[in-house]
């Protein structure tokens, strides 16, 4: 028994190590100042996929990432850890996508891949923190979804057995394949890069990355396993009206630069008067409401 698994992964700015120039004057993110990394919970998702591959030899793990051509780095990171291949979904038409447009694009790519049993991704990306893309893909593909997954403990009789991390405990569910799983950060950390895979795939690249360098192109063409596939909107038959900015109902009204001033926690006595005072205060300073 073996499975085809698509791992959704996103290249994100490393918001865990934010320096003082992480934000531009206008309040948008300064991507140049933050290293681009593999979204942490997507690494947890990759580990789940690789564990299934360990248990069911012959299982194929394919990374799917949407982003600029440099997102091929995400595919390489996956290859170093044991994935079988990867696709960079890249097109100017995808730029400026909110979660709806992103899930649309990824869903069309998943359809193009076609033969899959599991789509698995991290719960959320550290740049947007929405946790919407995974569930939206499931809806668009009409598939069942298991969110907040901590471990896919087994796959038998066409069903995946998944442990979920929920408030105050864990829950084990069984869900028919194919399905979409989003993985929590509390799941097993991803395995390190493997030395042999690293040496084997260190020159893996998409043709855009090596454009203009004939020697590198020839090198990759002679070794198909090094070629990171790049798919554009036309290739996945995407409706451009549903892609990128055009397909994004989210509108940014404004960005405010908030500086936290309070340093210590404050104790508020649990009386009606005190709580009412606190709520009024929070409404007044726009923390809520």
């Amino acid at each position: 028994m073996s499975f085809n698994i698509i791992v959704l992964a996103k290249q994100v700015p490393d918001t865990r190590n934010v320096g003082k120039d992480a934000m531009k004057e206008d309040g948008t993110i300064n991507r140049a100042a933050l290293p681009a990394i593999f979204n942490p919970e997507d690494l947890n998702a990759l580990e789940q996929a690789l564990q299934i591959k360990d248990r069911f030899p012959g299982t194929k793990v394919t990374l799917l990432t949407m982003g600029p051509p440099r997102a091929a780095e995400i595919v390489r990171e996956g290859l170093y850890r044991g994935a079988d291949g990867g696709i960079v979904l890249s097109d100017r038409a995808f730029a400026g996508a909110d979660t709806l447009a992103t899930s649309y694009a990824l869903a069309t790519a998943a359809k193009k891949i076609g033969d899959f049993d599991i789509i698995i991704g991290g719960r959320q990306a550290i740049d947007g923190d929405t946790a919407q893309v995974g569930p939206q893909i499931a809806e668009k593909l009409g598939l069942p979804q298991v969110t907040y997954a901590e471990e896919i403990t087994d796959i038998k009789d066409g069903k995946a057995i998944v442990t979920r991390r929920i408030e105050c405990g864990v829950e084990t569910v069984s869900c028919p394949l194919p399905l979409v799983v989003t993985v929590n950060g509390s799941a097993a950390p991803c395995r390190p890069r493997n030395a042999k895979a690293l040496m084997k795939y260190k020159r893996a690249a998409s043709l855009t990355e090596v454009a203009g360098d004939q020697a590198k192109i020839d090198y990759i063409e002679a070794r198909p396993y090094l070629k990171v596939q790049e798919w554009n909107a036309a290739y996945v038959d995407a409706d451009l009206q549903q892609c990128g900015l055009a397909g994004s109902p989210t509108k940014v009204k404004g960005i405010e630069n908030v500086v936290f001033t309070a340093k210590d926690a404050r104790n508020v006595p649990a009386t009606d008067e005190e709580l009412e005072g606190l709520i009024k205060e929070l409404i007044a300073n726009h923390t809520i409401g």
Partner: protein
Amino acid sequence: MANFYTDNPALKHHLTHPLMEKIVELKERNYADAATYDYAPADFEDAMDSYDKVLEVVGGICGDIVAENAEDVDHEGASCSDGRAHYASATKVNLDATRKAGLMGMAMPRRFGGLNFPVTPYIMAADMVSRADAGFENLWGLQDCAETLYEFADEDQKNRYLPRVCEGETMSMDLTEPDAGSDLQSVMLKATQKEDGSWVLNGVKRFITNGDADIHLVLARSEAGTKDGRGLSMFVYDKRNGGVNVRRIENKMGIKGSPTCELVYKDAPCELVGSRKLGLIKYVMALMNGARLGIAAQSVGISEQAYREALGYAKERQQFGKAIISFPAVYEILAVMKGKLDASRSLLYECARFVDMYKIYEDISKERKLTPEERKEMKYYSKLADAFTPLAKGLSSEFCNQNAYDCIQIHGGSGFMKDYACERIYRDARITSIYEGTTQLQVVAAIRHVFTGTYLSRMEEYKAQAVAAEYEEIKNILSAMTEAYAKAVEKVEAGKETEGYADFMARRLVEMAGFTIMGWLMLGDCQRTPDFKNSLTVFVNWAQAEVARHADFIEKFCPCELAAYKPE
């Protein structure tokens, strides 16, 4: 997100030593494997790039996983029940990470599943692992034993055992016994050949690091009735066959993550490795030389950890209104720690390169006849490796103990408490100058090269190398140290007929040789990487005084005074 490779530029400095090009070219047989293996390098740059990338993986695992787990492993320790040794839970996490990263069998040829790394980058990995957790190095580093199997086992044994090591099975070298520690000639474990030609082992081994390993190399007495080393042979025991139980594990001062076992062999089936009677005199000697280089790396790694802990604390700790690092009494200690660290690392990698050169030639000689020039070069490096291994093991383990001591001193009262890593470092460091041959035994191995002139002639070679003008003064100091050493050797040699006199002076002479060589090596380092200049100045100041102290002692000492030292 610590990375012990990228945060320590000294490693890359040593990785890019000019001799590496030749080492890699020989090791890769002109890059012939590239046609067969998709992970083999196509040329020198490709190989160096791969070492660099893989060492970065090692550095990441060390920084993020092994170092983070070190305290838990130290507290939980290994345990023993039902005849088996059990690792601490975090040790299993460490092992799992290094296995998944494919870092077992790093130096093994690709046809057995290894990475075919030369010794030098492999030792760099050992350096980092030891900095993360010295005890874990003992488990991970025992992959060294595979080298002995590779060198001396038959093809069938290699095919059966080496791929398992590369896949991550652990090894042990079962040498010592209750009455055979430093004196391995007294080994009594009995190997008996049955009628069908197979062998079984019976008896007890003690102080066996990772003694519940998957694959054991065992030194045993195959020749009944013999009493010395010539009656000993080397065997390989496979845990899958059973017959060896762990009676107890030692309750140790440090390196608590690595179980030190007492083993009981009851008709344990095993296989002879190589030829009978060569167990100690040939195979164990080779095994020990590899292991000694490993301990030198472990010592350097511990020194690194000690220095960093001390430096970090000295910058943070405020007394009298300022950070204690601003006081000369404190920054001198730190500077000398750094000097010893850099010096021992330079010696370590010089030695590793020597080992690479002769071992690769030795390996090539099994495939084809070496040219006379190659043969000459192999002998040259073999002799240097033989001379530098005890020097590196002996001196870097002493330095690592000194650095661990100073690390606590910098921490003051807090360093005496269990709250800081320095007390673990201190306990972990202590064994390095004891196992795989005490410093005293390293001196016994090294002293030959003092009297035959191996060290002196190598010093002359260093001296012949050109240095930038700004280093002329230090070069003069090193030349004077070299002369003082040569003079001391002459003086001791002249008094050799007095029984015990030369042995009595041996450690002083070996230290003089070692400190001077380290100075020369650091001078060479500075020609490539000027960042080492302060460290060079500090170390040479320190070493100069040490050499002068020994020279003075030797000069003034009368062999007739020896009697005053002898026990009643």
